[in-house]
């Protein structure tokens, strides 16, 4: 299969033959679809795309694509992706994971990835639960959601990914709903095209452990206001939103990280004079 020959790609060209372990009805199927559609629209050959993930249901996505993939360890997808992009700036790099992987164990890398502003796209499939480990509250779970690990709910204020992204310096911030294939596709395309670190939170229901999330499709609505390039304004707006606004909320103009590995190298002998006495 020598895809580089063809001029254009269809979404299906980005799918591998591996069948997902996801539960029937899981929102992540839609994310996979939007993602492959976005790739087709971007037209980047699958071999020039890398999809990096952590651990979780959502993090299984790389193997379901026909791109280069890395299913790493829990919480470390962002630094894997940053290392790859810095070493191989020619690639289109995606980091894709879940709310547990990205905001619980991976929270620190999220903060610093936003700051570092390496040119990659970070997609989080937020189902407000740890799906893979069978239903524990994640940082984005409502405080009163009852579960075995937190009977009666955690009582904790949910983590607000978009606000944190803005506060930490992400260059592009958006929220989508997995069920809206068209909008999600468009936003992923835009995120890739926007320079620097782009963050797309996709509300993606976990039908098994959060069947209540099936109702999301009725709750989401396109953002009432236009995207801004003022982070303070964007933050204030998102801090008071209902959690179901979708669309691009912020487009920044910070300079992306620019210290990459080059394609050709000098002879290390040039380093030796400093030692000679």
């Amino acid at each position: 299969m020598n895809l580089a020959q063809s001029d254009t790609f269809k979404a299906a060209d980005y799918r591998s033959g591996v069948s997902p372990i996801w539960c029937p009805g899981c929102g992540d199927f839609h994310v996979l679809l939007s993602f492959t559609k976005a790739l087709a629209e971007l037209g980047t050959a699958p071999e020039n795309v890398a999809v990096i993930s952590g651990i979780g249901c959502s993090s299984r996505i790389p193997a379901y694509t026909n791109c280069y993939g890395f299913h790493g360890v829990h919480g470390r997808a962002l630094p894997l992706g940053a290392g790859l992009k810095v070493a191989r700036p020619d690639l289109t790099v995606f980091v894709m994971s879940g709310d547990g992987d990205g905001f619980s164990i991976g929270g620190n890398h999220f903060l610093h990835a936003c700051r570092r502003n390496v040119d990659l796209t970070y997609v989080v499939m937020d189902n407000q639960v740890y799906g893979m480990t069978k239903g524990q509250p994640s940082p984005t779970t409502e405080p009163d959601w009852d579960s075995a690990l937190s009977p009666g709910g955690t009582g904790l204020r949910p983590f607000h990914p978009l606000v944190i992204a803005l506060a930490s310096g992400a260059n592009f911030v958006a929220r989508e709903f997995s069920g809206d294939i068209k909008s999600t596709t468009r936003t992923i395309v835009e995120a890739v095209r926007h320079p620097g670190f782009s963050f797309v939170e996709i509300l993606s229901p976990c039908v098994t452990f959060r069947p209540d999330e099936k109702a999301w499709k009725n709750q989401v609505h396109v953002a009432a206001v236009q995207a801004t390039d003022d982070p303070a304004r964007a933050a204030r707006r998102i801090m008071t939103d209902d959690g179901f606004n979708t669309g691009v909320l912020y487009r920044g103009a910070r300079k992306p990280y620019d210290q990459h590995v080059k394609d050709s190298f000098a002879d290390p002998a040039i380093l030796e004079p400093e030692f000679a006495i």
Partner: protein, 588 residues
């Protein structure tokens, strides 16, 4: 007791220390002497010792100069010059004087403390402060430099040129004052007379290098092909990273500062997945944070090099002092069976070799590789002959083109190394995975997939040809019946063992050295062969629990009688102690 009338014989090697409180410039003085001696044809090694104070505390430069390459301090000092006596007690334990040693203090600071002045040790007093004060901008440490120059007989022009170089930014005046101070010191030395003159070096060969172990690791890594580094600072490994930062930029690579060690190792893995040989450097606490991802690199077969510069442990331990107690975590510190390579440099200069070899091994076998250096190597500076070029360069098996859909990233091959498709290669797409997987990388909990991939990861390491680099096997030239001792050690203690062997050779005691550079895998057959016929084996290691001995024992039986000399840091096992051990054993 002035050593005025001491017999004027020359020495092949002299160890000296210069101590002072913060700002006294003891470390600068040591650095000037090292460089000057190196330029003039001697070899040398220098360590630093500083107090708990971040800055402004006491500091000591510990230097040894010799006509031959040296890998370690001797354990005792011939000359100690104290600009002042702050914290003398702490230094007393660290820098014992040789029985015929000389200690010089400033009369303004009172008598030489009893803890320092041992029996037989000569004492002398020089008014550093007063002499320095006699010149505008005069500095006590420069007077001390002059004293050493005079006592040891270093060529003053070389010292002057080093000073001119070092102080070039401070201007003409500073240089001149510095040189004047040195002259005053030399004059004082002349009045003292000296039994500490260094033998003239064999050749006044030029072109020596002055390099620390941490720099040598960096250079070896870049020579081996490293083009990406991720960094989180930690004592005593920071200098590896600080050296790499500009160096990588110069050759076309880069260093990224990470938010923590979880990120730094992950970045290195990500970059290596992209095809760029990658490295990170840390010390024990950082390595502890890296073991999860080290397992990922093992399972997904992504080569990376992790330099671990050991310090006193456990936990935060003693960050500024050396120990060899990260052997266990380096070899065993992953959940599941995650074979890896562990390489240990045998000297400061060998840091270059070990690091370059590590890159080569990591890349050839697609395996995480740990370089186990330690503080006594990493932060020591040596004067050495320029290292030769080595053939070890990163040569990763990659697939260039893929013709059909059958590409198997984790194919079971003869060598058990599977050619890797780098992103960008058409048709080579696969997903690297830490889950148990099939030959194609697809997650599998199937028994046979799990077994065969575990076999593969074991076999590629077990079957590799490490040549004769796995250990340095040396004798001390004493032939015949007396050659019945073997020292079995690893890493940084090699220098002390070599030194002890040289001493014992003079006494006619034959000693063989097996100094292991390849720690994991343990090449049992080669080790057993190297030890064949050994009568008495002395195992040396710098750990409290005897990790190295346990590790050897876990893997093979040692012949003959075995004694075990081990202790935790910070007090390094020295050549004299080793000699005593062997002499006593011989006598018993």
């Amino acid at each position: 007791m002035m050593p005025n009338e001491a017999p004027h014989s020359t020495r092949r090697s002299i160890s000296f220390a210069i101590v002072g409180s913060g700002g006294a410039g003891a470390l600068t003085a040591g650095a000037i002497l090292m460089e000057a001696a190196g330029k003039a044809g001697w070899y040398g090694i220098m360590n630093r010792s500083v107090g708990a104070q971040i800055r402004g505390g006491e500091a000591a430069a510990l230097v040894r100069l010799s006509t031959r390459p040296v890998d370690c301090m001797t354990g005792s000092f011939d000359i100690l010059i104290a600009i002042d006596w702050h914290n003398a007690n702490r230094f007393a334990a660290e820098m014992p004087l040789a029985p015929d040693g000389l200690v010089i203090g400033d009369p303004a600071n009172g008598d030489v403390p009893e803890t320092i002045a041992g029996p037989g040790v000569s004492q002398a007093y020089i008014p550093f402060k007063e002499l320095a004060g006699s010149l505008a901008g005069g500095r006590e440490n420069m007077i001390a430099v002059g004293l050493f120059v005079g006592l040891m007989g270093l060529p003053i022009e070389t010292v002057t040129s080093v000073i001119a170089d070092k102080l070039s930014e401070k201007g003409e005046q500073a240089i001149e004052t510095g040189c004047r101070c040195v002259q005053i010191g030399v004059q004082q030395a002349a009045q003292l007379g000296s039994s500490f003159t260094l033998e003239t070096p064999a050749t006044s060969q030029t072109g020596r290098w002055l390099i620390t172990g941490n720099e040598a690791v960096g250079l070896g890594a870049v020579r081996g092909g490293i083009r990406f580094a991720a960094a989180y600072p930690i004592t005593p490994a920071t200098e590896v990273l600080e050296w790499l930062a500009p160096a990588l930029t110069k050759v076309g690579g880069t260093l990224v500062q990470a938010e923590d060690e979880l990120a730094s190792i992950s970045m290195a893995i990500g970059a290596s997945f992209g095809g760029r040989p990658s490295i990170t450097a840390t010390s024990g606490p950082g390595l502890a944070l890296m073991v999860e991802s080290l397992g990922l690199a093992a399972a997904s077969e992504i080569p990376i090099v992790v330099v671990n510069v050991m310090r006193g442990g456990p936990s935060t331990g003693i960050p500024t002092k050396s120990e060899q107690s990260d052997l266990n975590i380096a070899v065993y510190g992953c959940h599941g069976d995650a074979p890896r390579i562990v390489v240990a440099p045998l000297s400061v200069a060998d840091c270059l070799f070990a690091a370059q070899w590590a890159v080569h091994l990591a890349e050839a076998m697609q395996v995480p590789t740990i370089v186990l250096s330690d503080q006594s190597l990493g932060q020591a500076q040596v004067v050495v002959d320029p290292p030769t070029q080595l053939a070890f360069i990163a040569r990763r098996a990659v697939v260039e083109t893929v013709e059909d859909e059958g590409y198997q990233r984790y194919a079971l091959t003869g060598s058990s190394v599977s050619p890797m498709a780098l992103p960008g290669t058409t048709g080579g797409q696969y997903t690297a995975d830490g889950l148990s997987h099939t030959v194609k990388g697809i997650p599998s909990s199937n028994n046979l997939d799990h077994q065969s991939q575990l076999d593969k990861r074991h076999n590629k390491i077990a079957g590799f040809d490490y040549g004769n680099h796995w250990a340095s096997i040396e004798d001390n030239g004493v032939a015949g019946a007396d050659a019945d001792f073997t020292i079995l050690t690893w890493g940084s203690l090699t220098g002390a063992a070599r030194e002890a062997m040289a001493t014992l050779a003079d006494e006619g005691i034959g000693v063989t050295l097996v100094a292991m550079r390849l720690i994991a895998p343990l090449l049992k057959d080669k080790l057993v062969a190297a030890l064949e016929g050994a009568q008495r084996i002395l195992i040396l290691e710098q750990t409290h629990s005897g990790q190295f001995r346990q590790y050897l024992r876990a893997n093979c039986d040692l012949p003959g009688e075995v004694q075990h000399f081990h202790r935790a840091g910070p007090q390094l096992i020295g050549p004299a102690e080793i000699c005593t051990r062997i002499r006593n054993w011989r006598a018993s």
